[in-house]
């Protein structure tokens, strides 16, 4: 395994933030404990939680590698969509095919984009090709995102790469509140939206609508999308809640791939409509036993028209319609020592592909039913999480066991370990002949032992087999690969309202057959974030470098590999009164015009700017 390659931007960046972190301890100071005691007393020592095992539990009992990002952090980076949010997460690689709202591929620790399960309000967003377009999820509706890095099949089914769980905003406790936001940027890139939220009696509501569009930050990448979202909650008189959500998105994208490669000139226009609905019930049956039922239905259509430019003529006109329905029922039993979760999940997906040129139609469908159970057993400072899941998919039976443990070494250091078997389909709609399989093992530690620095280190080994690499022209036989990786994250507590953070992920992906490196998969990822916030003025600087490992054979995709994308986000509250405020904000994206892409057909956007205002009431 070669850790360092030829002269590389990563080295410079790593050296810079290693130096930075090595200096910080000398500026640190002791901390009074009494405030922590008071706040702990009020919070009953309850810590930040994750839902990695499908029900909330403290992060200190979660063996998986989890990252959580909240609405406040999302707002600080003036994000337009979930894609912008995921860009700043260590260990994630995001490939945006244009500006805000455009189609986006998401990779977790170098696993394929079609092995990341994206959940919105408990319903999967993955569509044909197992592709989840995180560019279609508006950032404004997000309350919190939980990212499980690494295979999570024992709880979630087909999630070889990991899970991105998007929790949308809950109704405000006031009777009425909301916001109105408008921004305008280069190439008429605009994002205007409004939110209305409140609670009256037992009924809570969150309503939001917005327009996101651009005349194209890249040549021929226009986008115009409208989104509306509604969430209603009703608190039952007997310790429970019913909720319902509706999410509708209409996108017109167009004129892609024009004038990029002279030998590959065509234009494409597409129109997409997404309708996602969920209905759920949560009820505490006894003081120890809780029940949660979730159902969902999604209807998606996509019309695409592709024309050759030389010689002019239609290439591919098609219409795709997908319908996905499903549900999940789970029971959660809590005792002093156990957190036991058991449930069943069912999903049905059918789709029609119609060639509009010859009016031929192809149909397919997909059913999956899964049964899962996991427990978190607390034994003094140790928490052990065993779990199993059994899925029936088409003619295949998938068995996904896992076991993990956390050990609270002392008040400042937590050790984690996790091993699991998982599976995934690179394409559910078309139906690949075999599922891909993974065995993942992760160990890590999380510590605040160095004053004022939170650090996290994770080492991982993924053995993946039954892979069909569509990039390899011949022969196309299943192969096995081994990924060895390390991920390091660190961030400081604020000093003079300022904090910094960074993450580095390295993955060495090789073929078991001959030990050769797999080109085109991510090898190095560096994320840097510096933040200033004094409640009136805020600024965030982010740096993002993803090294896609050169692809030259069998096809040279003419990538550009060494760029770093620097974004700067500023905000100022120019007026505040009680619950009302007016904020001006500004973003400069890709400030130094960095080029970072693996394929010249999928270039990143250059430098662009935007500014706007947000009014809250």
């Amino acid at each position: 395994m070669t850790l360092f390659i030829k002269s590389h931007t990563v080295r410079t960046i790593l050296a810079a933030f290693c130096l930075l972190f090595s200096l910080i301890p000398f500026t640190a100071w002791g901390q009074e404990e009494s405030d922590e005691e008071t706040l702990d007393l009020l919070n009953a020592w309850q810590q930040e939680s994750s839902t990695a095992s499908r029900t909330p539990k403290p992060l200190s009992h979660t063996p998986e590698n989890i990252t959580i990002i909240t609405a406040a952090e999302i707002e600080a980076i003036n994000a337009h969509s979930l894609a912008d949010v995921l860009e700043i997460i260590p260990g994630l690689q995001v490939k945006q095919l244009g500006g805000p709202g455009s189609s986006t591929y998401t990779y977790i620790q170098s696993a394929g984009f079609n092995h990341t399960l994206i959940q919105l309000d408990g319903a999967p967003l993955n569509k044909i090709g197992n592709f989840s377009d995180v560019g279609m999820v508006p950032a404004r509706i997000i309350e919190r995102v939980e990212i499980i890095k690494g295979s999570a099949s024992a709880a979630w089914g087909p999630a070889m790469g990991g899970v991105i769980n998007v929790i949308t905003k809950s109704p405000d406790k006031r009777t009425i509140g909301g916001s109105a936001t408008a921004s305008l940027g280069s190439h008429t890139t605009a994002d205007t939206n409004a939110e209305l939220t409140g609670t009256t009696g037992r009924l809570g509501y969150y309503l939001s609508a917005g327009y996101l569009g651009s005349n194209g930050l890249l040549e021929g990448k226009q986008l115009h999308s409208n989104n509306s979202y509604a969430k209603l909650t009703y608190d039952l008189p007997t310790n429970g809640q019913i909720w319902a959500t509706v999410n509708h998105t209409h996108v017109n994208q167009g004129e892609n791939y024009t004038d990029i490669v002279p030998t590959f000139e065509f234009k494409e226009k597409s129109e997409q409509r997404y309708l996602d609905m969920t209905l759920g019930l949560r009820r505490q049956l006894t003081d120890r036993l809780g029940l949660e039922l979730t159902s969902y239905y999604t209807h998606r259509t996509r019309h695409a028209y592709s024309d050759w430019l030389i010689p002019p003529g239609p290439w591919d006109y098609n219409k795709v319609r997908e319908r996905v329905g499903g549900g999940n029922a789970k029971l959660v039993w809590k005792s002093d020592q156990h957190l036991l979760v058991g449930g069943v999940e069912y999903i049905h997906e059918d789709w029609n592909y119609t060639n509009l040129l010859d009016q031929t139609t192809t149909k397919n469908n997909y059913n999956r039913i899964g049964f899962y159970v996991n427990d978190t057993v607390k034994l003094w400072q140790l928490a052990v999480t065993p779990g199993i899941r059994l899925d029936y998919v088409k003619d295949e039976e998938q068995f996904s066991p896992s076991i993990g443990a956390t050990w609270q070494l002392d008040e400042k250091t937590l050790l984690r370990g996790y091993t699991a078997r998982g599976y995934g389909y690179s394409n559910t709609g078309i139906g690949s002949p075999n599922s891909e399989k993974i065995w993942t093992t992760q160990i890590g530690a999380e510590s605040t032992a160095v004053p004022f620095i939170w650090q996290k280190l994770t080492l991982y080994r993924n053995q993946i087999w039954n892979i069909l690499d569509t990039r390899v022209l011949t022969p196309n036989l299943p192969e096995e690969r081994i990924a060895l990786g390390v991920e390091y994250e660190a961030r400081t507590t604020p000093v003079f309202n300022t904090s910094i953070g960074a993450g580095y992920t390295f993955t060495d992906l090789t073929r078991s057959s001959d030990g050769s490196q797999v080109k085109g998969s991510v090898r190095h990822t560096v994320k840097i974030l510096a933040r200033y916030d004094d409640q009136t003025y805020r600024a965030v600087l982010t740096g993002n470098h993803t090294y896609w490992n050169h692809i030259k054979e069998p096809v040279n995709y003419n990538g550009s590999y060494y760029g770093v994308l620097w974004d700067l986000h500023l905000g100022a509250k120019v007026w505040k009164k009680e619950n009302n405020s007016l904020e001006l904000f500004f973003s400069g994206r890709n400030l130094f015009n960095g080029k970072q892409y693996a394929d010249e057909l999928q270039k990143n956007t250059g430098r662009w700017f935007e500014g706007g205002a947000r009014f809250r009431f």
Partner: protein, 295 residues
């Protein structure tokens, strides 16, 4: 280059230009959502110019020097550390909140005023009476809570409730003292006492409530999920508003000495219906508690 000139111009617009005089110096112990909520309430009740110092952001924040140089009309201290940091501020009035030690410190500091973290005993005892509790167990540390117990005993006598008290000098004694309450009490009243309630002793309270089938009444929402039957917790927004009103009174010329140390005036009342049901406590009785409440 054109872009960078624009960028610099915009940056310049965003940066504060000159330090301005202000009315209120806010000293906050750390960045915590609990403090932010109180501050939100404070800001909603009065509009004043302010400067915010978050102590964990600084290696050594000399609050006395800042007060001397900036001459704010009032200091707002949020948290125990903030309260300690303002110890040597002698002339400027200080309003303190979210500090457990505020009651003890206020005796020796004539310019210190504020709102404590203990909700008055009356609504707790009314709640316990509605649970039909006649003998209520309390575990406490006298150095932390004796002042509150005095008020509680007085109110308990008025409401014909017997407080079965157990004093502890360290958290280790709590488990034994709780055990000694078995068969002696119909309910447990948990106080925000940092000696009697700790991470290590928390489970003993919950186990006692479950095994002895006596409801536990606590002071924060977080305990409901752990097995408390009911809580009366601080309304942090209103705590801030209350401090804002005090600030207005002080800035309008009312002398600090004329304002007594306050207790929170509003509590949020919440119950764990399943625990109540298991213990056979009727809900309608609970809902008659005469306090400003929301659920």
């Amino acid at each position: 280059m054109r872009y960078f000139i624009h960028l610099i111009a915009i940056l310049a617009l965003f940066l504060p230009t000159l330090a301005e005089a202000y009315d209120v110096l806010i000293v906050q112990s750390s960045r915590s959502s609990a403090y932010e909520e109180v501050l939100k309430g404070f800001r909603s009740s009065r509009q004043s110019s302010e400067r915010l110092i978050v102590l964990t952001d600084y290696a050594e924040a000399d609050i006395v020097r800042i007060v001397r140089e900036d001459q704010p009309r009032l200091v707002l201290a949020l948290g125990d550390r903030a309260l300690k940091a303002t110890k040597n501020v002698r002339q400027t009035p200080i309003i303190a909140m979210m500090a457990l030690g505020i009651h003890d410190l206020s005796r020796n500091r004539p310019n210190l005023y504020g709102v404590g973290m203990f909700i008055a005993p009356r609504p707790y005892l009314t709640l316990l009476q509605n649970m039909k509790a006649k003998r209520v167990g309390i575990v406490y540390n006298s150095a932390k809570s004796e002042w509150y117990l005095r008020q509680a005993r007085q109110e308990a006598r008025r409401q014909n409730i017997v407080l079965v008290q157990r004093e502890v000098n360290s958290p280790k004694q709590t488990i034994a003292q709780l055990s000694s309450l078995a068969g002696e009490v119909d309910a447990i009243w948990m106080l925000p006492d940092s000696v009697a309630v700790t991470r290590e002793t928390l489970e003993a309270y919950m186990r006692f409530s479950q095994e002895k089938r006596v409801p536990l009444v606590s002071f924060a929402d977080a305990y409901l999920g752990l097995g408390a039957a009911a809580v009366l917790e601080l309304d942090r927004l209103d705590l801030g508003r209350q401090a804002g009103e005090m600030a207005t009174a002080l800035l309008n010329g009312t002398s600090v000495s004329k304002l007594p140390m306050s207790q929170p005036r509003r509590a949020i009342y919440k119950t764990n219906r399943n625990v109540l049901k298991n213990l056979g406590v009727a809900l309608e009785q609970i809902e008659t508690v005469n306090i400003s409440s929301s659920e």
